[in-house]
């Protein structure tokens, strides 16, 4: 009996293993509980495909963008605001996983270790979020899209506050279309184009080619090339919209002459152009509110002369991400570097340096001249704008219209990048979006 009693100590081994396991589980729960609870399938946050309860989201003026009312998620009153901020605020089903309602789900749902997702006064504290965006400017920009797809991003390059972030195609989160998941029309509707899409850049890439020239040639300012509308290269040609004659950099930028930049790129060479583009953030991923953005792509490692010439004007196998373009504009405006844009709180203090200070200043001047001499300052009433437009040909469709740039104004230092699909011209289609947004930000 004594021996049997002694041998029963084996049960203690089991008991200790059990207690150890429980301890491990509780520690894990304490450490990761918030992450565990904040899953998109969690029925306490989403029920029958829609958000049940989450904190209130407001814009910079305190306008309510989303709030929960009696087991229902209610969005802003204005339909334009709802549609324009769909990809910023998010939808009720959590399909748009780069939006605030997904990224900050755990904060919004008011989780805490003691009460879990119980709706207590504790969960109400601090579960609201104020965004830096302006609902008015977003709605104005969205309306200026006139139903086209594309993206617009405007931020304050001094502070990093994001003011406008519009991604179209979009839908009304209060009246979700029944065929949202089935209709081809809505393909890609859950993607935030500003962050995760790339477009053919077209003429806005001439800024990169220009920067490469500044790095390569000391005489870049006086260097001239002749444009005769067509430029034969091998058995093909590079074409230009006009017969520009002999041009300097400043005029070529203003006229957006393809042949000037094609010839310039042939002199710069693919390695140098690639190097400059990568220094300026191509082939690099950035982050926005903990979302990793799509990288702008360029690969000139084995290009022919023709391909290099077309690349120089942004018309070959290269892609640009709108968010990255806005960052680049912020860097040029700021003398080389820009703070990372933010939408909640006060930013991460991350800075991106994308150009040297001298190149930034030279590009700044070029873009200023482009607006003042060629586009006309009268378009941008109340602002001093530096910009470059682009009209990228897309096979089988109307062109992608770009405008990238920034305002010089001390009290309104905004950098912007807008790309509108199926537009008519850079300054008219995309420019109008910027103008509408800037007017709404006054």
């Amino acid at each position: 009996m004594k021996t049997t009693g002694f041998r029963s100590f084996v049960l203690y081994l089991l008991l200790f293993a059990f207690l150890g396991g429980i301890g491990w589980f509780v520690i894990n729960l304490a450490a990761n509980g918030e992450k565990w609870a904040a899953q998109p399938y969690n029925g306490h946050i989403y029920a029958s495909g829609s958000t049940l309860s989450a904190g209130t989201i407001t814009d910079r003026t305190g306008l309510i963008l989303a709030e929960s009312q009696e087991d229902r998620r209610v969005y802003a009153e204005s339909e334009s605001v709802r549609r324009s901020l769909l990809h910023t605020v998010g939808d009720s089903s959590g399909y748009i996983n780069t939006a605030v309602q997904s990224v900050h789900r755990s904060h919004l749902m008011g989780y805490n270790l003691i009460f879990g997702l119980n709706d207590t006064i504790f969960s109400g504290l601090g579960s609201s979020i104020q965004l830096s965006v302006s609902a008015r400017a977003n709605a104005a920009a969205f309306d200026a899209f006139e139903g086209r797809s594309g993206s617009a991003f405007i931020f304050n390059y001094k502070t990093g506050e994001t003011l406008v972030k519009v991604s179209a195609l979009t839908y009304d989160p209060m009246h979700v279309p029944d065929d949202l998941l089935t209709n081809e029309r809505y393909d890609g509707v859950f993607l935030d184009h500003t962050l995760v899409s790339t477009y053919v850049p077209g003429s806005i890439f001439k800024l990169v080619t220009a920067a490469a020239a500044m790095d390569t040639f000391t005489d870049w300012e006086t260097r001239t090339y002749t444009c005769e509308n067509r430029f034969a290269l091998g058995d093909s040609t590079v074409t230009c919209l006009d017969w520009h004659g002999t041009l300097s950099m400043e005029a070529a930028m203003g006229h957006s002459c393809n042949i000037y930049f094609a010839k310039l790129a042939l002199d710069i060479g693919p390695e140098k152009l690639q190097e400059t583009a990568e220094k300026m953030g191509f082939n690099e991923q950035f982050s926005f509110d903990s979302v990793t953005t799509a990288d702008s792509e360029i690969d000139l490692s084995s290009v022919t002369e023709l391909e290099l010439a077309w690349s120089a004007v942004g018309q070959a196998d290269l892609m640009a991400n709108p968010y990255h373009m806005a960052l680049l504009m912020g860097a040029i405006a700021n003398g080389g570097s820009t703070p990372e844009p933010y939408i909640i709180g006060s930013g991460s203090n991350t800075k991106y340096t994308l150009v040297s200070q001298s190149t930034a200043n030279r590009l700044h001047d070029l873009m200023r001249t482009t607006v003042s001499y060629y586009y006309g300052d009268s378009r941008f009433e109340g602002y001093t704008v530096c910009a470059k437009t682009g009209t990228a040909e897309v096979s089988g469709r109307d062109p992608n219209c770009w405008i990238v740039g920034f305002t010089e104004d001390e009290d309104a230092p905004y950098a912007f990048a807008v790309c509108v699909e199926d537009g008519s011209s850079g300054i008219r289609t995309a420019g109008n979006v910027v103008i509408a947004a800037l007017n709404a930000l006054k």
Partner: protein, 634 residues
Amino acid sequence: MPDILQDFAMRILNSGLLSTLMLLIRFITPFIALFVLWRCYTSFRKGQRRKDPVIMLEDAATGAAFPVLYWENSIGRSKSCDIVIPDESVSRDHAVLLRREEGWFVSDTDSHLGVRVRGRTIKEPTLVQIGDKIGIGPVTLILKNTTDSNIKKRRIFTGFTGEAASPFSLMLGVVLVQLSMTLQLMFGTGEMRVYPLAVFGILFLAEWVLYLFSRRLLRRVSFETETFGLLLSSIGILLISGQGVDAVKMQIAAFLIGIVLFCLIVWFVSDLDRVMKSRTVIAIGALLLFALNLAIGSTVNGSKNWIMLGPVSFQPSEFIKIAFIFVGAATLDRLQTKKNLTVFILFAGACLGCLFIMRDFGTALIFFATFLIIAFMRSGSFRTIFLALAAAFFGVFMILQFRPYVAKRFAGWMHVWEHTQDSLGYQQVRTMTYIASGGLGGLGIGNGCLKYVAASDSDLVFGMLCEEQGLLMGLTVLFGLALLVLYARSDVTRSRSTFYAIASCAAAGMLLFQTCLNVFGPTDILPLTGVTLPLISAGGSSMMSTWGLLAFLKAADERTYAAKRGGRRSAQAEEPEDDPFLDEPAFDPRTKREPVQKARPAERTNRRMEVRIPENELHPETHNTKRKGGVKRR
């Protein structure tokens, strides 16, 4: 008028006040449950007999006294014997002195020189009386009553409080927990429901019938094991009630049958002769049941472990768990005569083989762990354990080698967050998400979301418990199941036979191991094997078999069979058993030892006051009636 009332009721239901109140109740309930579980254990410890010698053996030649401490005592030369006789010609394990209903027996366990009682060499267990001479080889021992030798008494930790809780008050605690959960069920889901009252009513009736049956009719002293079982069962049943009344009908039926099974097994194992004779039949029956399962079983969730007979379906493996322990445990004289484990190993091997063919790996693991516990407690041989583990690893290796799809089933282990939408991690991540969602206080019975996931009320029931009743309640239940091991351990040398000791340890170990698999599987600490949480999970077979296993724990408590409470009305008729274990002189004046006491009254009183707390004084109820009876007789 009723409209206004209804409107008023709805308003209260939908107001924040009610949900806050419910949350408060959910925070308090686990503490009541915890108190009941802890007091069950401490009262159980306090009710136990002190480790005093009950009779003595005296060496006739030298006069050396050997205190007899247990119900079954091995006698021999080996140091591991309870009574060590350091004589070269005595066999290592020579004989066993054991106590049965009729009195003390001596049994020869294949010794070289044999055992003589009253001058005759015995072949079978032989009854011995006080004063009889027992010849162990060359040594002659005389059976004597205890003298007041200075046996050191161990102080054992019995909790923070001095008094044992009365079984009645602990049962009131159980009712309180049931009431709290019933209230949540009725008002906590946003609509008023009435059926929980019926569930509560049945639970209430069943537990008090059992209480009266055990305490009044059978006059048993202890009720802790039953209280434990009733508390956990009602938590499980009321939790499952949240899914509607249909979900819980079968569970309640199984609970009632389980209680009957519990009583039957407690009765059946009371006679150790009957037990030892029936083991072969039970072993064969278990194997036949497995064979039947393999022949006509149905496959559910990838395991062919169900038998469906018309409207009744059950899992034979659950009942074979009871048989497995039955076959594995044995009395001390058997253990000493049949030392090798061959038969049990063959039986266990056959069981495991069947479970593997059924692909019920979780249950196979439970059987294997139980096998290890029993094998070690019987043989004490690390070699056996090592060999068994080696064989198991080899077996697992071979299975993975030739049946790679088995491994695929567990491929999500430790990577479940990469499999939130496929079968490798679907259940695990949802369990963890909803445990976190519940917080410490839970979201209320019936308000959970895990219930929409398959097997949520069985394999994932820990998640459901935590989501709806909170982590505190989840941990309380786990604490209770862990206490089972301590129950079993504390009883191990006090039980009436090694059969009970081994069976209760094996049962506790089996239940705790099953708990490990159930809790750590869905939380991704172990691979998900799909076993039930004892008494909590939905599953009739599991509920019944767990009550069956609890019977072993009950049987290991020596008071179950030996001690009787005094009946209130029939104190006179109450004849305390003439048993040296229980009728200790300190509280029963009618024992044979009384003259001895009188011889040294001063010392006796002293000792009594200082250290000796008679067993019935720890049970106030018993104490009063017994003393009254005693006074009357005088």
